[in-house]
Amino acid sequence: MTGYIARRLVQAVFTVLGVMLLTFVLFRVIAGDVSTAYVNQKLGAEARQAFYEKHKLDRPSIFNYHRRLLLVDNTDGPHPYEITDKNGSLAARALSLHLASIHRGGAAGSRLQMAGRLVFALSPKTPLLSMTGGRPLLSEKTGISGASGLSVSLSDGTVFFVDLSKVRTCGDFIAAVASCPGNAGKLTAAISRWSPASLFDSQFFWHLWENVSFTGRSYATNQSLLEIIGERGRFSLSITVPAMVLTWLLAMILSCFVAYYRDTWIDRIGVLITVLGMCVPYLAYMLLGQWIMFKIAPGYAAGLAHPSSIYVPVFIAVAAGLGAEVRFYRTIILNEINKDYVRTARAKGVPLPSILFLHVLKNCMLPILTELITTIPFLILGSLLLERFFGIPGLGDLLLTSITSRDVPIVTGLTFLTAVLYVVSLLITDVLYAVFDPRIHLK
């Protein structure tokens, strides 16, 4: 048994990894540029770059073999460290030089750095133009006098000028900085070191980490995923949990009733009603329910002004779901009733009600409960339609709006949660089968 469980857990890990890969491909690769929804396009490329850096979207997709150009300020002064373009140079913007977020402080290795964009296989021979993502290094304006280049202002106040007019490759740039008059070792240009650990500093692995550790934050509101689930999950659960248990209880009662009177007109009418119930669209139940509530008790018809108005969507969910459940349970019960031991018991004169309630239901409970367990993972997502219509601030509604507004961390986080819960619930149902059904041996 333990061997079986261990093996299943390993399989579960691979399943979830597959789910993560799929969500990554769908939401990062196919969905494309999410910054259009969160960054005002009028602010230009710099704002978009800041957004990508903040959410680690500037990293390479799967594996990171990339390095970047660094400009390290070796002084340790109080002023802001600035690099600006001068005389027609566009290099600072083109190379996307920005202050890398490192901790400043006395300890060795903590210096102010300007870092450029991540470039694949960066070496001193790489031409500068291939590092700029298509942006030109020089402005097209004519009539500019003086050498074009970068004006550097270090944190101790030193100011000097780096001439870029003859610089073609990355190595030239590093040499130009080193040989610059005024720079006595205060500013070093270098290519960042690449260590095998940074192989995993890529979008895919950050995506994995963010989901596994539940540290994702919404792009729109910056709330953490846990906070959002805590805030809104209970509303979703308040609809789905009562709906699930109530449906189960009512379906059990009705299906026992119908199975007992099988092949009589009660059974036929029961089946007719359940099939009708399954055919009516969900939306019809909702509209009808809401219309009736507005006539009877308008204060409870929409929203959550009173906690008990949650029962309106609960009852609608029960009414809509009852038909299918009754059909399913009836089938299971009838399967059991057709077994040999029931026929023997009937032949021995045991009345049908006691067979039903003492023996048959016990054997039916296993498939029924295991089916119930596999629906548990989806309870937290709530019911999108019910939440929308009745104004319940649950997770289902949030999931849909997150998809349309490309709030990727929320979508992937909820998908991951559901995937893990589902895989675990499948494992539990298999184990339960082995525990309660002596005929089954798990290998």
Binding site: V39, Q41, L43, A50, E82, A301, L304, P307, R388, F390
Partner: protein, 641 residues
């Protein structure tokens, strides 16, 4: 087995009754909460920070607790700018470049922990007066590279001396490093506590309107940045600093909102409820004593009863409850069951409620429901991409499309006739519209359309752009939504009449934005809401330099138009400018880079216990003027309180 049954029934009963304990009602309903105003909002409030406010819902909510230097007069039409936190209109230097604004003395912020405990002990928290340097901080935050400002920055870019350079400097700072707010900006100064001077790069006659976007440039006390954004609650009653790498520069939580407005933000639950309570220390503000006079079609504010509360101190309503309801049916039913005081009218019920004469039917008047109408300074149009090989090259094709589109019918079918046909790129109430006259091609004339179509075919054949002698299929991009589906059908019919095949493509909003930005669309449907009451706001959409800026989405390039635009840009309001406006509007009317469809009319229903309701085309923050007769509401079966 018997135990199983009993236990399972008990478990079911317990789980079913669980919501009653888990769900607690949002916000406490105090016994003395006073007069309560119930309203609905149907789109999420995207921002609680004045600097990032860019959509209507955020502005509507924010304007109740944030106030700016100037605002628009509630009643006067055409709209007029009046002072709000400023003391008098700004003193403008003769060259139009320096604005000196005096701030009212004694305006207090909402009490908040960021100011510390109240020394007198009368209140929990302290407060302080609004000072000129708070406005400087607010403008710096708008210019801050790390704050996702949209609308707010669009009006200041290239306008204030030194502000663009400041924005570049902020780029060098890390997101959480707020020492960047200490850097001085050349063009913004607070020479003394209650005076603010702003220096512009070029004369900008519409600057006063920019300052009247009241909540966007609301003052922000430095304490909010230092306390709420730089430190956090340590759980033991004290504050612990947040590491720089983890700080968020924008105001996002309810307790971080510190404004001067008539209402305090008591509770903010995203996409659920917003609660606002009256600010007991709100400055002395009074209901206006003058209003709009009688004119054609309107009896005047006095006769309409809008001046009954003239001179009284505002706000009247004690508490405002905004509920998030997305479905139109639920919104409508909530209004009919008297749980909500104001509503719009859904398309399906419009005919039952409004007569063809655009007035309320008698049966509805008997229920105690009243109607107010206002025309919004918004124009909806179909934009043609002037860089498209087919649409851009052939002026006759664009003219033919304009002549062959029955916009009046579209307004009737798709919007219940709730609007007027737009005949110019500028709304009907704006200066320049009447002087220019209606655009010669912005009318429905099938004969002229056919004739122009023949010319268009000749033009395109000369360029070699016809496919088998027919005009190639044109793609029409729209955002998705049920209304747009109907519009697509309508548009297809109109184009069929001209013999053009139309392909309608539906996109979600981010994809549509991206396509427009990358110039991948041929034509698309958009609306432009006036940011201020000046035609320049619409004419700048065709200035060629705005193509890169992103506001010129038709990619229209006309050197004559550009030179005229550069001229009026610095002119104050005068007859000469109006003449040039008319000329520019006529140029657009001749070139047809767009097909204007309609200017919407806003129909709002409200119950007769709500007084002083007048829709304002441009301003926000007028909830303080509304008054509710609570006794009448209770008597008619509405909500208590």
């Amino acid at each position: 087995m018997k135990w199983f049954y009993i236990i399972s029934v008990l478990v079911v009963a317990a789980l079913v009754s669980l919501p009653l304990f888990v769900l607690r009602p949002a916000g406490k309903k105090g016994a003395d909460s006073g007069v309560v105003y119930n309203a609905i909002y149907s789109a999420d409030v995207k921002s609680l920070d004045p600097a990032t406010c860019g959509d209507v819902t955020s502005s509507t909510i924010q304007a109740n607790f944030y106030e700016g230097l100037y605002t628009y007069h509630y009643l006067k039409r055409p709209v007029e700018v009046v002072e709000q936190l400023a003391d008098g209109m700004p003193l403008v230097s003769p060259d139009g470049l320096t604005y000196t604004i005096h701030i009212k003395k004694g305006v207090l912020y909402h009490r908040n922990p960021c100011f510390g405990k109240d020394p007198s002990g009368a209140h929990a928290w302290n407060t302080r007066m609004v000072l000129a340097r708070d406005f400087v901080l607010s403008l710096k935050r708008v210019a801050d590279y790390h704050i996702n400002t949209g609308l707010a920055w669009a009006f200041l870019a290239d306008r204030i001396v030194g502000l663009d350079a400041y924005r570049e400097k902020t780029r060098q700072f890390r997101i959480g490093d707020f020492s960047r707010y200490d850097i001085p900006v050349a063009g913004m100064a607070a020479p003394d506590s209650f005076t603010l001077t702003l220096r512009l790069t070029a004369p900008f006659p519409q600057f006063i309107y920019v300052l009247a976007m009241n909540n966007v440039y609301a003052p922000i006390p430095r304490e909010v940045v230092d306390y709420h954004l730089s430190t956090t609650d340590d759980g033991k009653g004290g504050r612990v600093p947040v590491p720089v790498a983890e700080r968020v520069p924008e105001i996002m939580e309810q307790e971080q909102v510190v404004g001067t407005g008539p209402y305090l933000l008591s509770a903010f639950k995203r996409k659920w409820t917003i609660l606002m309570d009256r600010n007991p220390e709100y400055r002395a503000d009074y209901y206006p004593t003058q209003g709009e006079g009688p004119s054609q079609g309107y009896e005047g504010d006095g006769a309409a009863g809008l001046l009954a509360d003239a001179g009284k101190r505002v706000p009247f309503i004690d508490r405002a409850v905004f509920r998030y309801v997305e479905e139109e049916y639920a919104q409508w039913m909530l209004f009919l069951s008297k749980q909500v005081d104001v509503t719009g009218i859904p398309v399906e019920t419009f005919q039952a409620v409004i007569t063809p004469g655009k007035d309320l039917t008698d049966s509805w008047k008997k229920k105690g429901i009243c109607l107010t109408k206002a025309s919004d300074p918004v124009v909806y149009w179909i934009v043609f991409n002037m860089e498209d090989p087919v649409l851009g090259k052939s002026k006759s094709l664009r003219r033919a499309i304009c002549l062959g589109y029955d916009a009046q019918n579209e307004i009737k079918i798709l919007s219940n006739d709730r609007g007027i046909r737009a005949v110019n790129v500028v709304p009907a109430t704006f200066t320049g519209h009447n002087e220019a006259g209606p655009g010669p091609y912005f009318r429905f004339d099938t004969l002229a359309a056919f004739r122009t179509m023949q010319e268009a075919k000749k033009e395109l054949a000369a360029e070699g752009l016809l496919k088998n002698g027919e005009i190639p299929e044109i793609k029409f991009d729209m955002s998705d939504g049920p209304m747009n589906l109907r519009m697509a059908d309508f548009a297809r019919q109109q184009f069929e009449r001209l013999g053009i095949r139309l392909k309608c493509v539906f996109n979600d909003w981010p994809t549509l934005q991206r396509k427009v930005q990358n110039k991948q669309i041929q034509m698309y449907y958009m609306g432009w809401a006036a940011d201020y009451p000046d035609a320049e706001d619409f004419l700048q959409l065709f200035y060629s330099k705005n193509i890169d800026k992103g506001t010129n989405n038709s990619n229209y390039k006309n050197p004559v138009f550009d030179s005229l635009y550069e001229a009026i840009r610095v002119m104050p309001d005068c007859p000469e400018r109006t003449r040039i406006y008319a000329r520019m509007i006529r140029i657009i009317g001749e070139d047809c880079p767009l097909l204007p469809i309609y200017e919407p009319e806003n129909f709002t229903l409200y119950y007769n216990w709500m007084h002083n309701l007048k829709q304002h085309p441009m301003g926000y923050g007028y909830l303080k003027y509304r008054r509710i007769d609570a006794a009448l509401r209770r008597a008619l079966g509405g909500s208590e309180g």
